[in-house]
């Protein structure tokens, strides 16, 4: 079947029940989304589908035909980071970094819908995400900063 990932259509050969995460990592070599719990409980695997944050570890590819998938790789590159990535780098919000791609995609989905999200909105949106390094306050700063960058503030 065909999957549209970051604007590029890929022909994928996999069983319809295969979780999107496995296809992203194993077949498409897009390794930003992480396997954490495999049960939709930690948030490390979150990517965007049609603008909404979803758990890629529990979403079978059967439901994704003709839909737009966006992963962290779609937000920018190391040489040319997007606003979300720029903000996370500036705030040095990652420690081990394992949870961060999922957090960034959830935050991206939030800010695309609501660029003026308040801290309460951000905290609420990131509630399903686990981080055990403890960089929570930097993550909150980074997302707030990304909102500013997206609104065109320098």
């Amino acid at each position: 079947m065909k999957l549209d990932v970051n604007g590029q259509v890929h022909e994928v050969e996999a069983d319809a029940t295969t979780p999107l995460l496995y296809v992203l990592r194993d077949d498409l070599k897009l390794n930003a989304a992480k396997f954490g719990c495999g049960l939709g409980q930690c948030g490390a695997c979150v990517v965007m589908v049609d603008g909404e944050a979803i758990y890629s570890c529990i979403t079978p590819i059967s439901v994704l035909e003709n839909r737009k998938i966006k992963t962290l790789e779609g937000l920018g590159t190391a040489g040319k980071p997007g606003p979300m990535q720029r903000a996370f780098i500036d705030a040095q919000a990652a420690q081990c970094g394992y949870c961060i791609p999922g957090m960034m995609m959830r935050a991206q989905a939030l800010l695309e819908k609501n660029p003026g999200a308040t801290e309460a909105d951000i905290r609420g949106a990131l509630q399903p995400h686990l981080c055990r390094c403890g960089t929570h306050s930097r993550i909150l700063h980074a997302v707030a900063r990304a909102g500013e960058l997206m609104r065109g503030k320098s």
């Binding site: 029940t17 409980q41 049609d50 909404e52 979803i54 529990i58 079978p60 059967s62 839909r67 399903p128």
Partner: protein, 436 residues
């Protein structure tokens, strides 16, 4: 978050009854009938003098009142999301208009800080506020009237020792004069404390007292007539409430495996029963509250509710065995890519396993008359309250389109062995974020 249809009405006016008379210009009933009702309803209640309630109460009494407040789920209506405890504000959408839970903190100006125990008792028993105004029956005094003096006094002690919060009540939008509530009461309210049934055990009677009284379970689980009164001939037959279906608790209970006292006690106290359900929607709040209530009282409630199902022990066992066999056979079949990819990893494990979830064909949400409960659960997941432990199901909103959700619901309904739901696509649409 949706709230259920049970609350005190928006009235804690301290003006005298005559000060309310301009309300008759808003009548939607004919003015004449309205005026007559107004006079009948209004003339019968005196205002109770303002008092400064005691500042302290015996510790034991306050703790008992706290437990009873949890039985009554008082916060469900009297605490808005993110708001201060008991300061009101929760909107309740009823067929008659939106009513907001009132501030029942002891603040003298905006709360009930000038209410004596006599005024509080009258509100609970007769649905009349301190100033003498009738309260709309969204405040379930038709149940609370069964509560003993001792328990009302304990609730009063608990409420009067809460932090006073200055917060004005939000006006309700019911276009009827309060006197109509007086007429409603003359037709439906049977005031009086619960009378034990001598043919039943003490535990059963304790359960009946809590379920029929403060617990006001029927407020959601009993269908209402067009005047908003619970139908006496359909007690606990299941009802629609704020978009959710509160399942039948009587012999028509849709639970594939009939409830036992042990299972229901676990569900009420912990919000989860292995072969039935994980509490969700309005019931999640009820289970949260009952987790603060002592085991003996929760068990008594379970004893009473299970007794509402009049099927014989044999019938119940047969029904349960058949349901279990059918469920095990159903999940053994593969056949739906969404179910197999998104649901089966947890739901086919069985509870005993780590990460195991409810065996879906046994789930109550699959068996109720509408797919809406299940649609809400799949869209929103089942998330713990802030800072608390509970079961967790991830939200699938965004992952599934409405068409895919419709297909999954149709498949799950078939898995439960029940006849297909009507208009699943239409019902799914009603549960989408923009439509609620």
């Amino acid at each position: 978050m949706n709230r259920v249809l049970r609350s005190v009405c928006g009235c804690t006016h301290r003006t005298s009854c005559t000060g309310h008379s301009n309300i008759r210009f808003h009548l939607t009933l004919s003015r004449l009938v309205g005026l007559a009702l107004f006079l009948v309803g209004c003339a019968s209640h005196e205002s109770v003098p303002q008092v400064e309630p005691p500042k302290t109460f015996p510790r034991e009494q306050v703790l008992k009142g706290q437990e009873l407040a949890y039985v009554g789920n008082c916060m469900g209506c009297h605490t808005e999301e993110g708001g201060k405890p008991y300061a009101g504000g929760t909107p309740l959408r009823t067929p008659f208009g939106t009513i907001h839970g009132t501030n029942i903190t002891p603040d003298p100006e905006t709360g009930i800080g000038q209410w004596s125990l006599a005024a509080f008792t009258r509100a609970m028993r007769e649905g009349v506020d301190r100033g003498g105004h009738n309260l709309f029956p969204a405040f379930p005094y038709d149940h609370f009237t069964k509560t003993t003096d001792e328990d009302i006094a304990a609730l009063y002690a608990f409420i009067m020792t809460r932090e006073p919060v200055s917060k004005k009540n939000v006006a309700n939008t019911v276009p009827l004069p309060r006197a109509t509530a007086g007429w409603w009461k003359s037709k439906y309210l049977e005031p009086g404390v619960y009378k034990p049934d001598p043919a039943q055990s003490g535990e059963w009677n304790r359960g009946a007292y809590l379920v029929e009284g403060l617990g006001h379970c029927g407020a959601c689980h009993t269908p209402r007539d067009r005047l908003g009164a619970e139908k006496k001939d359909a007690q606990f037959a299941g009802a629609e409430i704020e978009g959710w279906h509160a399942p039948a608790l009587d012999s028509t209970s849709p639970s594939p495996i009939p409830w036992t006292v042990d299972a229901l006690q676990a569900y009420l106290k912990h919000g989860v029963a292995d072969q039935h359900a994980q509490s969700a929607g309005p019931m999640a709040e009820v289970a949260h509250d009952l987790s603060h209530v002592n085991d003996a009282d929760v068990r008594a409630m379970a004893v009473y509710v299970v007794s509402l199902d009049k099927r014989s022990a044999d019938q119940r066992k047969q029904a349960g065995d058949a349901a279990l066999a059918r469920a095990r056979a159903a999940v053994a079949q593969k056949g739906n890519a969404v179910y197999d990819g998104a649901c089966a990893d947890c739901h086919n494990l069985g509870r005993a396993q780590e990460g195991g979830a409810l065996e879906l064909p046994l789930g109550t949400a699959l068996t109720v008359p509408t797919p809406k409960n299940l649609a809400y659960i799949i869209r929103d997941g089942i998330l713990p309250r802030d800072g608390e432990r509970s079961g967790w199901m991830p939200a699938f909103e965004g992952a599934l389109t409405d068409a895919q959700l419709t297909e999954l619901l149709t498949y799950l309904r078939a898995l439960s062995g029940q006849p297909a739901w009507n208009d699943v696509a239409g019902e799914v649409k009603k549960t989408s974020k923009g439509q609620r």
